[in-house]
């Protein structure tokens, strides 16, 4: 089966600019996750969707980050405005409903200058 797709793979922006990332989960996976992975650290959950509803966004910096999954399939994560400390890899993952195994995409490496 095809894996989790993400785009773009790399993005370089100036601070205070906006950026958006796109994720297409594995077909049939109802649960979708966005993680932030800072260099040298493990991924940290930002938001979890079940179909098109938000299950957990407690660690999402809502003053600048937003995410949506309008039709319960693809998802976008947006940062507006970006800060230097947002430089990280943004990973998307998906899983079957109730499944413990999450399948990760290749990530988008964001550099904020």
């Amino acid at each position: 089966e095809a894996g989790v797709a993400q785009s773009p793979r790399y993005k370089i922006i100036e601070k205070r600019q906006s950026v958006a990332f796109w994720c297409n989960p594995i077909s049939g996976h109802a649960t979708l996750y966005w993680y932030q992975q800072i260099l040298g650290q493990g991924p940290k959950l930002l938001i979890q969707f079940q179909n098109n509803g938000v299950v957990d966004d407690s660690q999402l910096p809502k003053d600048r980050f937003s995410a949506e999954r309008l039709k319960g399939v693809d998802s976008t994560l947006k940062i507006q405005p970006a800060k230097l400390e947002d430089s990280a890899v943004y990973l998307c993952a998906s899983s079957r409903t109730g499944g413990n195994e999450q399948f990760f995409g290749p990530g988008t490496r964001l550099t904020v200058l």
Partner: protein
């Protein structure tokens, strides 16, 4: 901007030797643990999992050991190969969330 991150623990082994990667987890109430492998430029990849009611589980060339008394996980890789070079993360399921520990960078010398 310059990214500042933690310095990863590293483990260097000779090809063919066995590797042991250790991890301390945070929550005594966690009931499920996973080891992930992350190669450069890729997302984490599932290796093996274990439930809290077990203390050992074996896969192909990998074994995970769980010591709940001291909240410790280990991953053993038999006959380590160059393709095993990666960063390895342990993770726990707690409160419905996947929480990653600090990674260990494994380097395999040919």
């Amino acid at each position: 901007g310059e990214s500042v991150g933690l310095h990863l623990p590293t483990l260097s082994v000779q090809e063919g030797d066995n590797s042991i990667i250790n991890c301390a987890y945070s929550n005594s109430a966690s009931d499920y643990f996973i080891w992930y492998k992350q190669e450069s430029g890729k997302g984490p990849q599932f290796i093996i999992d274990i439930r809290s009611n077990m203390d050992k589980r074996q896969g192909q060339r990998v074994t995970v050991l769980l010591n709940k008394t001291v909240k410790h996980l280990s991953l053993q890789i038999a006959a380590t190969q160059p393709g095993d070079s990666a960063v390895y993360f342990c993770a726990e399921i707690w409160g419905g969330k996947l929480i990653f520990g600090q990674g260990t960078e494994l380097s395999v010398k040919p």
